[in-house]
């Protein structure tokens, strides 16, 4: 029994996350439908099409696993696993409350960032091994994008890590008497934008842009392997949205309700934000993407780090000055940007 325990915990965790992901899929169908003035799925499972994602998954499982003649067979087969397994491993590092967690890693933040770099590799592997021009183009768009946005993502987190002086996610949450979103508004904005790019979601989905590249790196994939790429994206969403909650929104802290409820309220808030930004913002062009990453997000993240570090060192009670200066700079920068863009 003692040997089976870790496996049972892992199984329970994955089933819990998977059932949430099924709900995500349904919610996204419904939200994007409503925003486009449609109803979304209504038939499957009678009540507002609740079983549509399950039906989709079953469809994927039943489809034939086609491997193109031109493909590099081995790498083509392995690629989805290379992306999927590390993203599932990330779940081990995410705490939900200070009681409910799998393991309190010393380096949890770093662990999550490091494992998420496998996503890029799986895309390049899949795109290259398919032996298809569209796949290769999609893979390289994805590669360029993930590389340029990993940097601002990491630097936005660095501000939080400096404030709490630990890399453990539980430690970071326990340190937040004031939520970090108040102390680090610039970092939070950078994180939210870079997160959508890392997840390849709609304003930044040019690697799988249907209208240009058919389906990017996953053109040639079908059945299970295609579903694995998609599921990997949803697991990534789970990981990064939880990171946003834990790093910036105070994790399980909140009045009256128990911690776990607060965690999921915040989590679904982030999810709603992602779902709405997906349907309301048009896709960016590759050059705009690079401009945004390197000319706006990276300098903002660096400014955030410099302000945070300076105030932590120079001012004993740095919280109020930090919040004021960050908000002042943020509002000033947004105002300037509006003037320039007009």
């Amino acid at each position: 029994m003692a040997i089976a325990r870790p496996f049972l915990i892992a199984l329970a965790l994955v089933i819990f996350v998977l059932s949430n992901i099924v709900f995500f899929m349904w919610a996204e169908f419904k939200i994007s439908g409503r925003v486009a003035d449609r109803l979304g799925p209504m038939e499957t499972g009678r009540f507002h099409g609740w079983a549509q994602p399950l039906a989709d998954i079953l469809k994927f499982l039943n489809k034939e696993d086609i491997i193109p003649a031109n493909a590099d067979k081995l790498i083509f087969r392995v690629a989805p696993f290379v992306g999927f397994i590390p993203v599932v491993m990330v779940l081990a590092a995410i705490p939900y409350t200070n009681k409910i967690f799998v393991r309190d890693f010393d380096i949890a933040v770093f662990f999550v960032i490091a494992l998420s770099s496998f996503t890029f590799v799986s895309m390049v592997m899949g795109g290259w091994a398919s032996g298809n021009k569209y796949s290769l183009l999609g893979a390289f768009r994805a590669a360029g994008m993930l590389l340029s946005y990993e940097l601002p993502l990491g630097l936005a987190i660095a501000g939080v890590v400096m404030l709490s002086a630990t890399l453990s996610l539980i430690g970071i949450v326990q340190h937040q008497t004031v939520w970090n979103i108040v102390l680090q508004p610039i970092g939070f904005l950078v994180f939210m934008v870079a997160m959508q790019a890392e997840l390849q979601r709609s304003p930044f989905d040019l690697a799988v842009a249907e209208s240009e590249l058919v389906a990017g790196y996953s053109v040639e994939y079908s059945g299970m392997r295609y579903a694995m790429f998609q599921l990997g994206e949803f697991f990534g969403l789970w990981a990064l949205a939880s990171m946003a909650v834990l790093l910036f929104l105070g994790g399980w802290h909140g009045p009256y309700l128990p911690g776990i409820v607060w965690f999921f309220i915040k989590f679904y808030g982030i999810f709603l934000f992602l779902a709405f930004s997906r349907v309301s913002v048009p896709r960016v062009r590759p050059d705009q993407l690079m401009d945004l990453g390197w000319k706006i997000l990276l300098p903002s993240a660096l400014v955030n780090i410099v302000i945070t570090a300076t105030l932590i060192v120079l001012v004993p009670h740095y919280q109020l000055p930090l919040a004021i200066s960050e908000f002042a700079i943020l509002i000033g920068a947004l105002y300037l940007m509006r003037r320039v863009l007009k």
């Binding site: 010393d106 380096i107 662990f111 590799v121 590669a143 630990t166």
Partner: protein
């Protein structure tokens, strides 16, 4: 045989056979992806040595950064050799001599190292990974090397941009 030892044997097997594959395969892209696997397994070896931070760093740098750079470089250049082995060989004519050199080196190293008695601490390597202590050591005792390495990285960054950009 303890679990740790078993893990060590398995990891060593994957690392060494992966490395052998990298230096012998005809398909360059396969070599790059095998390099990724080998480096991730080396990260697992660091995990076995209770150096979690270094394991994560190994994955981040070798899986993320180095693989990306090598793949981009591969796509920007054209090799005269084909993946199926046709065209020009990826190896040169000195395979025999290289093998002898390498084998000689290995023989000497093993001859010198194996009889050595190392002053192994009895507690090792059960010491838990401790990032805070490591940070303190770096920023107190090794602050000068740290600054120098950042200057080197900056110099490398600028140098790479200057080298790789097209003259207009």
């Amino acid at each position: 045989m303890s679990g740790q030892l078993l893990a060590f044997w398995a990891l060593s097997f994957v690392i060494l056979s992966g490395a052998l594959y990298i230096v012998t395969t005809k398909n360059i892209m396969h070599a790059v992806f095998m390099h990724l696997l080998t480096m991730s397994m080396i990260a697992a070896i660091y995990g076995l040595l209770h150096a979690d931070f270094m394991a994560a760093m190994q994955v981040l740098i070798y899986a993320g950064a180095v693989t990306a750079m090598v793949v981009f470089a591969l796509m920007l250049t054209k090799s005269q050799s084909r993946p199926d082995g046709a065209g020009m060989a990826v190896d040169n004519q000195q395979r025999g001599a290289s093998f002898l050199t390498a084998a000689g080196f290995l023989a000497v190293v093993i001859y010198v190292l194996v009889p050595q008695k190392w002053a192994v601490k009895e507690t090792a390597p059960i010491v838990k990974s401790d990032v805070a202590a490591m940070g303190a050591i770096i920023f107190k005792s090794y602050i000068l090397p740290f600054e120098i390495i950042s200057v080197i990285l900056l110099a490398a960054l600028i140098g790479v941009i200057v080298l790789a950009r097209k003259e207009d």
